[in-house]
Symmetry: C2
Subunit: 470 residues, 2 copies
C-alpha cells in the first residue's frame, strides 16, 4: 500500500472503533511505539495516525501520558417526541408526586437519579473551603455587617466580565444578587405576576417553577417543546394574547436538555418585547456546555430591558452557598425593593468567597473539567441505556447541562417504575412531575451529575431491568 495512505487507513480503523463505541471516551490508545510494532510502520507514520485522529477531534493527547479517546458521542438513541400540551392555562400542580420524589433527597443509601444537582465529587470543595476562610479576611468586619442591598460589588463585577463570553455584556450596576437561583426566579415572578395572570413555560418544566407559579396564584400555560431546540415559536405566537409573562430555561433546560438556537432566542425576545410581555430567563445551566462555545442568552438580544436574566452557581459550584443573581433590565427598582423587604441583603461570606474564586481564574478551570465529566457521563448513560433499557427507549441529546430526558414505550408508566425502583434504593423523576397536564407518563428525567462509577452503571442497568418489568 502507498505509504502516503497507510496512516489514513489505520486512523480510519481506530476512528470507526471509536464511533461504534468499541473504544469509549477516556480509553487509552496504544502508544506511538506500540502502534509502530503492531502495524509495522515508522514512528513518523504512527504519529500522523494520531494527528489525523486529533484533527477529527476523536482523540486528545495528554502530556507524558499518551493519547485518549475524547468525549464524542458513540451511541445515539432516537429522540423523544416534541411535547404536545394543550394550550390552555392550568393551575393544579402534581404536588403529591413531587413530595414523594423529594422525600428521598437526604437519604444516603439512595442513588439519586431524580435530582438536578451536581454530585459533590464534581465540585472543587477543598478550594472553596479556602475561599470561605479567605473571605473572612477580605471582607470588612468579617462579613458580620449587612452588605449593600444590590449585592457584593466584586461578585457583580466578575459576573459582568464573564457575561462577555455569551453576549450578556452586563454592567455591574445591571445586576442584583439573590440567595440562589430559585430566589431570583421568585423575585421576578413576585415583581411581575399578579394572581390570575398567565405565565407561559416550557413543557416539560422544572417542578419548582410550576409550584412557585401556582403558589403566587399564576396560571400556567405549557408550550410545546422540542427536545433539541426548545419551545415551538409558532405555538408561542398563537398564545401571545393569552399570556402576561414568559419564563424559559433556554440553555440545556431541566428536564429536557434542549437548547434554543440563537435565531429562536432572538425571535422570542422580539415577539415578547413587541407585545410588552416580560421574559424571565433562567440560565443556570448555560456554563455547562459540552461543545466549544458557550451558548448565548436571550438577554443578549434584549434591547429594551424586557428580559430578566437569572442565574446562579448552584449547578456549577456550590448548591449550598445559595449564590445567585438577576440582571432585571427595566425592572431593577422593583427587584431591589423586593430583595430588601423579603431578605434584607445577601449573605456576605459566601458571595465574597465566590467572587474571589471567580477572580482567581479557578472557576474557568473547574468548569472545563466539570464539562468534560458531564459529557462523559452523558455518553456513558446513553451507552448503558442502549444496552440495558427496554427496546424502543428514546433519549434527548443534551449538548450541556445536568438532565437527560428518557422516553419509554407508551405502556411503561414511570410512576410505577418509581415505586419499583425506590424499593431498590434508586430514585428517578417521573415525567408527570414536570407538567400540570396528563402527559409524560412514559417519561423520566435522569440526572447526569452523579459520578460515573461501576456502581452508578450497575444501578442504571438495574433501572433498565426494572423498566422491562413494568
Amino acid at each position: 500500500m502507498n505509504k502516503e495512505y497507510l496512516y489514513t487507513e489505520i486512523a480510519n480503523g481506530i476512528a470507526s472503533q471509536i464511533r461504534n463505541g468499541i473504544l469509549k471516551s477516556g480509553d487509552k490508545l496504544p502508544s506511538v511505539r506500540k502502534l509502530c510494532k503492531e502495524h509495522q510502520i515508522s514512528m513518523n507514520t504512527a504519529k500522523r495516525v494520531f494527528l489525523e485522529l486529533e484533527s477529527q477531534s476523536l482523540v486528545d493527547s495528554k502530556p507524558q501520558s499518551g493519547y485518549f479517546v475524547s468525549n464524542i458521542l458513540s451511541v445515539e438513541l432516537p429522540l423523544p417526541e416534541v411535547s404536545k400540551p394543550s394550550l390552555i392555562a392550568n393551575n393544579e400542580e402534581p404536588n403529591e408526586l413531587i413530595n414523594k420524589v423529594y422525600e428521598n433527597i437526604g437519604k444516603k443509601e439512595v442513588t439519586l437519579f431524580s435530582i438536578g444537582i451536581p454530585s459533590g465529587d464534581l465540585l472543587p470543595q477543598a478550594k472553596l473551603k479556602k475561599e470561605i476562610i479567605n473571605a473572612t479576611r477580605t471582607l470588612k468586619e468579617g462579613g458580620t455587617e449587612y452588605e449593600e442591598i444590590q449585592g457584593n460589588l466584586k461578585l457583580r463585577r466578575m459576573i459582568s466580565m464573564r457575561s462577555l463570553q455569551w453576549g450578556g455584556n452586563f454592567h455591574e450596576n445591571d445586576l442584583v444578587t439573590t440567595n440562589g437561583g430559585m430566589n431570583a426566579l421568585s423575585f421576578c415572578l413576585m415583581a411581575l405576576g399578579k394572581p390570575g395572570d398567565t405565565i407561559a413555560i416550557e413543557s416539560p418544566c422544572y417542578p419548582g417553577i410550576l409550584q412557585l407559579a401556582n403558589g403566587l396564584g399564576l396560571k400556567v400555560l405549557e408550550l410545546p417543546t422540542h427536545p433539541t431546540t426548545g419551545i415551538e415559536i409558532d405555538a408561542l405566537k398563537k398564545v401571545i394574547p393569552k399570556i402576561d409573562l414568559c419564563l424559559l430555561i433556554p440553555n440545556y433546560n431541566a428536564p429536557l436538555g434542549s437548547c434554543m438556537p440563537d435565531e429562536n432566542k432572538k425571535e422570542v425576545v422580539k415577539i415578547l418585547s413587541e407585545n410588552g410581555i416580560p421574559l424571565i430567563e433562567d440560565d443556570v445551566y448555560g456554563d455547562l456546555y459540552f461543545g466549544s462555545d458557550r451558548p448565548k442568552c436571550c438577554k443578549s438580544f434584549d434591547k429594551e430591558g424586557n428580559v430578566l436574566y437569572c442565574s446562579s452557581i448552584s449547578k456549577t459550584l456550590a448548591p449550598g452557598y445559595r449564590v445567585g443573581w438577576i440582571a432585571p433590565g427595566k425592572y431593577k427598582d422593583k427587584i431591589l425593593k423586593l430583595k430588601f423587604l423579603h431578605s434584607t441583603s445577601s449573605i456576605s461570606i459566601v458571595n465574597e468567597a465566590v467572587a474571589n474564586f471567580l477572580k482567581s481564574g479557578k472557576y474557568e478551570k473547574h468548569l472545563q473539567q466539570m464539562r468534560k465529566s458531564l459529557q462523559n457521563n452523558y455518553q456513558n448513560y446513553v451507552q448503558t441505556i442502549a444496552e440495558a433499557f427496554p427496546q424502543g427507549t428514546k433519549t434527548s441529546r443534551p449538548q450541556g447541562g445536568l438532565s437527560l430526558w428518557v422516553e419509554f414505550d407508551k405502556n411503561i408508566k414511570t410512576t410505577q417504575l418509581y415505586d419499583l425502583a425506590i424499593k431498590e434504593n434508586i430514585s428517578i423523576a417521573p415525567g408527570r412531575m414536570f407538567t400540570l397536564q396528563d402527559q409524560f407518563e412514559n417519561c423520566m428525567r435522569l440526572c447526569i451529575g452523579l459520578p460515573w462509577s461501576e456502581e452508578t452503571q450497575a444501578k442504571l442497568k438495574q433501572l433498565g431491568n426494572l423498566a422491562k418489568r413494568v
Copy 2:
C-alpha cells in the same frame, strides 16, 4: 454615732449621689482604704458600706479593680404619649421618606442614629470569624451541598435549648430556619395573608413591616401603643372583626422600645386564638433585656399553634449572616413549602457557624456584655438628651433592645430636623417613617446600638442644638 448605723449613713450618701446622677454608671468609687481614711472608719465598716450598695444593685465589684457604679438609670425624662392612630386600615406607605433615610446607610461619614442594628464594635467579630472557619470543617462537604429544607439541625437544637429561658419550650422539629428575621416575617405574611386582608400592628411600627405588608397587598391597621406596655388590649378587642392577621414585636419593639407585660401577652394570644386570627410574633430584641430576666414570648402562652414565632441573630450577633428562624406552630407545612420554593434552603456555612457559637456557650457571655453596653448607652443617651435637647423633650424608657423613641414639642417637625442634621452628617429616623397615618411628626427613633464615645456624645448634643433651631 452608733457604729452599727455609720455604714448605712455613708452608703446612703453615696446612693443618693448615684441616684441624682452625680456619680454616673461606670464611675469608679473610692477604694476601701480611701473610704476608711475619708470617713475615719474601720476596714470592716468600709467593706459593709460597699456590701450595702451592692445589695441595692447600685455598685458592682470588679476583682482587682475595686467598685464601680452599676448601670442604673440616673435620669428619667417624661414618657411620650400613647399613640392614637385612627382604627381604619390603610395601605399607603411613606415610601419617599423611608428611601431618603435608608439612602445614607452605607456612608461611613454619617453618624447613623437612624438604623436599628448594633454597631460592629458591640459584636464578637473575631470569634465569629473563627466559627466560620470551623464550620467549613464540621460541615459535611464543607457546606457546598444543600442542607435539609427545615434547616441546620444543630442550630435548631441550640435554639430549642435556649427557648427554655423564656418559656418557649420549642422542640427542634418545631423550628424552620430562614435567611434572617425579615425573611421569617415575609414567609409568615406570604403564608397567611391574601391581598385585601387586614393586618393589625403596633403604632409606631418598623417601616420594613409596613412596606412588606403593603407589597403583599395587605391593608394595615395600626393599634394604639403604650411606650412601656405595648398595644392597648381594648383597642385590639375593638378591631377584632376587622382584622385577618396580627403582627407584633412584644419585647422591646422597634421603634418604641415597649415590652408587653406577661398578662397582656397571655390575653392577646387568647383573644386572637379564640377568633382564629394568627399572631406573627417578632422577637428579635428579646435577648437584649437590661434587667435580670429575659421577657417571655407570646408563643409561650400559645396552646393551639396559632402563634408564629420569628427571631434572628441580626440584632445580637451578625446582621450580615442572615440567620433567622420561625416556630410556625400549625402553619409549619405552609412555611416549609414557601421556604423551599422561594429560597430552596438556608446557607449552611453561616448557620453552622452560629450553631457552633451557641453550643460553645460564647453567645451567653457575649449577650451579657452586649446588654451592659446597651443599657449604659441608653443611660448616656438620656443623660445627654436631658442636658442638650429642647425643653419638654420626652423619651421612652426601654428596658432592652436597640431603640429609643424621642418625642419633641408639637412644633418641632423631625422631617425638618432630618434635613438639617443630614447636612452635618447625622442621620435620624423621623417618626413619620413608622406609620401610614399623619402622626409622630414631632417624634424620632434613635438607635442606641452605636458605640458610646465622645464623638457619639458630641453628635447627640449637636442634634439637640439643631432641634432647638427647628
